[in-house]
């Protein structure tokens, strides 16, 4: 939490989003009971990947424009 500005913090956040959750899901998939359950877990991860990507783009732009204005 010692990153100097919002954009770098965003950078750190996306790591947690993508990689952290990905690893958690990977671990859980290995011990999931059924193929369907495993697929569902992967779906959750994919969904977060997608939404995370979109949202971080949005926030980044929002930040850049906010900071370039004043």
């Amino acid at each position: 939490m010692r990153f100097p500005d919002t954009l770098t913090r965003l950078h750190a956040l996306t790591k947690a989003d993508n990689l952290g959750l990905g690893l958690v899901v990977l671990g859980l998939v290995l011990q999931a009971g059924s193929v369907a359950a495993a697929l569902k877990l992967i779906c959750v991860w994919l969904l977060l990947l997608l939404s995370g990507a979109c949202v971080s783009q949005l926030i980044a732009r929002n930040t850049r424009e906010r900071e370039s204005r004043p």
């Binding site: 999931a32 926030i59 850049r64 424009e65 204005r69």
Partner: protein
């Protein structure tokens, strides 16, 4: 095994909670929403872990819902606090006064 998963869930919770600390200290609005985004992701992870521990499949549905809506809230934030740019323009004019 369950203990390991629970420990993981606990660690994620603590980390996510630490992520909230900057808000307490009065960070910018964007930082706040970043913390919420992190909270959403962390919540999803914890839910998945808890689901694996308790074996209740429906918990994954809660995670799905949370994942979808945390993205939704972030979009709402960007629309509510526009940077007056071309991509995202005014969304929050006020109700006109009808005095």
């Amino acid at each position: 095994m369950a203990d390991v998963l629970l420990a993981a869930a606990g660690i994620i919770l603590v980390t996510v909670a630490l992520g909230l600390v900057p808000i307490v200290r009065g960070a910018s609005a964007t930082d706040n929403i970043l913390a919420v985004q992190l909270f959403g992701t962390g919540g999803v992870a914890v839910l998945l872990l808890l689901g694996a521990v308790s074996g209740a499949e429906a918990i994954v549905d809660v995670a799905l819902t949370l994942a979808l809506l945390s993205a939704f809230v972030s979009v709402a934030f960007v629309k509510s606090y526009p940077a007056a740019s071309s991509d995202v323009t005014r969304s929050s004019a006020m109700y006109e006064c009808r005095a």
